[in-house]
Symmetry: C2
Subunit: 211 residues, 2 copies
DNA sequence: CTTCTAAGTTAATGTCTCTAACATATGTTA
DNA sequence: TAACATATGTTAGAGACATTAACTTAGAAG
């Protein structure tokens, strides 16, 4: 009398699932399902219906939480950006202020994100989300860039973010971004010979941060 | 007796349109329609049906020329890459061999492509086409990168593409790529103050190409 | 002139997004 | 504690889309 709908629920576990009718935290469940699907099959391959099946709800359920498909994708990318920012903050821990190692740590984290969650990474940093025009997403991107700028400023002994800081931060960001794409395409070896990622980041930091 | 299907044909003109039944060069017509739609509404917004309406044919017609929707997109990006490569070659004309101006000209062309055809640019260089896994597309991308490497080699006085050439070429490519994204987001002014694109490309070339 | 084939067409199938109308819990308030 | 308001589900269905199958047309080749 109560389990008529409990077809697939045992496979998921991202919430409380109180009653059997109500999911508990469907929003989070859908975001997770969508994230996995987008990572698996790309933004195009992913369908709302499939995410519903994965979460064990009807195909109309998402529209209580998201305006439409695009907003689901935005939510997924946004959630990815939160984790990304957390990781960046964590990466700085224990490294002394003003050390170029801090900048390198951020670079490593960026590359790491690109490699472990390539679909989300490309959605945010490959320009796809431009079409979605979400303000929060723009802010989140700006926030991560500002973290880099602050570290660059400290390295250069500047007390604020000057034009010069902005320039160098931009170059660092761009090259790490390029590096991320190369690594994903497994073309690093071909390009850099025996150099490891740390070698490259070290070298890069030295060059761009030098006075 | 012959014009029963000639509803929208007068608006298009990319071929011969022989009979009224046969289009003349539907493949090219569809690529052009698709290109415009993708540029207007993004890869997701675009639909095969809409491209058919634009080209004035039935929704089944494209499948005589393309395997599926993805292949249509691939064809559009591929065609864009051809034009891009033509432009790059044209940009070099008249600039003496070995001059860093040649590298700068390529950079300017890259940025130009990013700004005039942002959707195609992002499809190819934003990593989207990875999911499509088309060999010709990979080759085309490699080809443009090799053009840069050759020019960099000549600037550095190298007779072949060494590890060092590869490294510098990569940095140049990455930064120009980053610049393209910034420009599209209209954040250049904020970052670079009064500097123009040519200033930035000039400065960049000087720094990275210096011995 | 007949015939072959490339390039169209119509019609149909199954899937998808999204909406409307209805159902069920949960928490609030009398 | 009972009644209600609200949030969160469900079913059913409309309209668009991608793709296929079977048929048609016209231009070329023998």
């Amino acid at each position: 009398m109560e389990d008529t709908k409990n077809l697939e629920r045992s496979s998921k576990d991202p919430g409380l699932k109180k009653s059997g009718y109500h999911h508990g935290d469907l929003r989070a469940g859908l975001i997770e399902a969508t994230r996995r699907l987008v990572e698996e099959k790309g933004v195009d391959g992913f369908s709302v219906s499939e995410a519903c099946r994965a979460a064990g709800v009807s195909t109309a359920a998402p529209y209580k939480h998201f305006k439409n498909k695009d907003e689901m994708v935005v939510a997924v990318v946004m959630e990815g950006m939160m984790r990304f920012q957390d990781n960046m903050h964590a990466a700085l821990e224990g490294i002394p202020e003003g050390s170029p190692d801090r900048v390198r740590a951020l670079g490593r984290q960026y590359v790491n994100f690109a490699l472990t969650e390539p679909a989300i990474f490309r959605l945010k940093f490959g320009g796809y989300t431009d079409a979605l025009e979400d303000e929060n997403l723009d802010e989140a991107g700006q926030g991560t860039f500002n973290m880099v700028l602050e570290e660059v400023a400290k390295c250069l002994g500047e007390s604020e973010i000057t034009q010069e800081v902005r320039r160098r931060g931009f170059v660092l960001w761009s090259v790490v971004h390029g590096l991320s794409f190369l690594l994903h395409d497994k073309k690093l070896a071909e390009m850099a010979g025996e150099a490891t990622l740390d070698d490259l980041l070290g070298d890069l930091g030295d060059r761009v941060l030098a006075p």
